[in-house]
Amino acid sequence: MSKIHVTTTVNGDTVEFLADPRETLLDCLRDKLGLTGSKEGCGTGDCGACSVTVDGVLVSSCLVLGVEAQGKSVTTIEGMDKDGELHPLQRHFVEKAALQCGFCTPGFLVAAKALLDKNPDPTETEVRYWLAGNLCRCTGYDKIVRAVMDAAAEMRG
């Protein structure tokens, strides 16, 4: 099985890795690049814990092959803060206790940021539908939705 050389951009940095074509982008991010913020919950695109963006589009990185990232621009949870300063979404998640075990949190944050990049003023219903593919077994979702709404309000100024 020959591996394929992949050059891609992750959180603004050019990176290279060798991927078996069966390996997912999630495996490559975690095991080759050490970016373990993206989690594998289900591995079948149902839970959203592995959410990243590829060329600005929100996807489940468990449903993308590492070799498909060639020439693309990937952003992960590791690219969300600015030099250690939390993104408003991250801060509101902490302040509103929108997480308990934290396993789903990176996926929720990446997905929520993708929503606010597209729609800075979503309704609660829009937030709930957008995040329907991010599963959380701890919080019951209400605190997550409130944190997203409050972060959106703060970011609109």
């Binding site: 099985m1 394929i4 074509p21 069966r22 997912t24 591995g43 079948t44 695109g45 149902d46 959203g48 959410s51 590829v54 589009v57 929100l58 996807v59 489940s60 468990c62 449903l63 993308v64 092959l65 070799v67 498909e68 997905a111 993708a114 929503l115 539908y129 957008w130 995040l131 329907a132 593919g133 991010n134």
Partner: protein, 288 residues
Amino acid sequence: MRYHTPATFADAATIAASAQGVTRFLAGGTDVLVQLRAGSVLPDDLIDLKHIPEVHSITRTADGGWRIGVAVSGASLGANKDLVADWPGVVEGMELVGSTQVQGRATLTGNLCNGSPAADSVPGLIAAGATVTVTGPSGTRDVAVQDIPKGPGKTNLKAGEVISALTLPARGKNAGDAYLRFIPRTEMDIAVVGVAVSLRLDGDKVAEARVALGAVAPTVLLSDACAKAIVGTTLDAKALDALGAAASGECNPISDKRGTKEFRIEVAGVLARRAAKIAYDRAKGAKA
């Protein structure tokens, strides 16, 4: 597994035709990768179609229809306002597939080729009269969407054949379409029943109609009986009752964890009536 990135559909077909083992084409990957990781389908050759230039584009055809590339995602489809205005039923079917994350990758053509009788985008395409272009080792041919599914997980495509484009006809005037599905929750589920209706009006009367039923038989059905029940009517109560009865009569469903046979037969009639009313209102100018 060998990973191929052909630059043309002819090359993709050639690779597939000469492959010895299991072959899969990769577009959005939302079914192929799940099967690969579950070990249910382990391709020897995986042919990624996304390096073929035209696969990402949505273009108007010369006659006013639409040509949709095989890697156009649900998210891209929904972002095309002119397409949504022409074929809201087709787009709303696709947008019901999976989550926001899945929408970023999943494609109409992939949903069709996965061969699920419950595929949410397929009834809308069949009701619309959509066709696909099939490229094989000996050239291309156009096939109606309803002739692609063969049974659960199976299509009528031959070895070495690949769908290279999907075409929606021109919408024309006084026409509308709609898709409704039943699931026991509001989001993130697979259709228990799905019904698509596309119709054209002449004044207040239905002049043409196509009705497709999903998840009630081994393949998505195009129902002539349903169309006959409403053509020539103003979609009054009597016509809607006839449509509901025709839709229920077409069903040949299984009972499974999502719903019993009896439930599916009942719900198909209910959804057919409701979808026809939405399509009728849209033909009268209601916005999706």
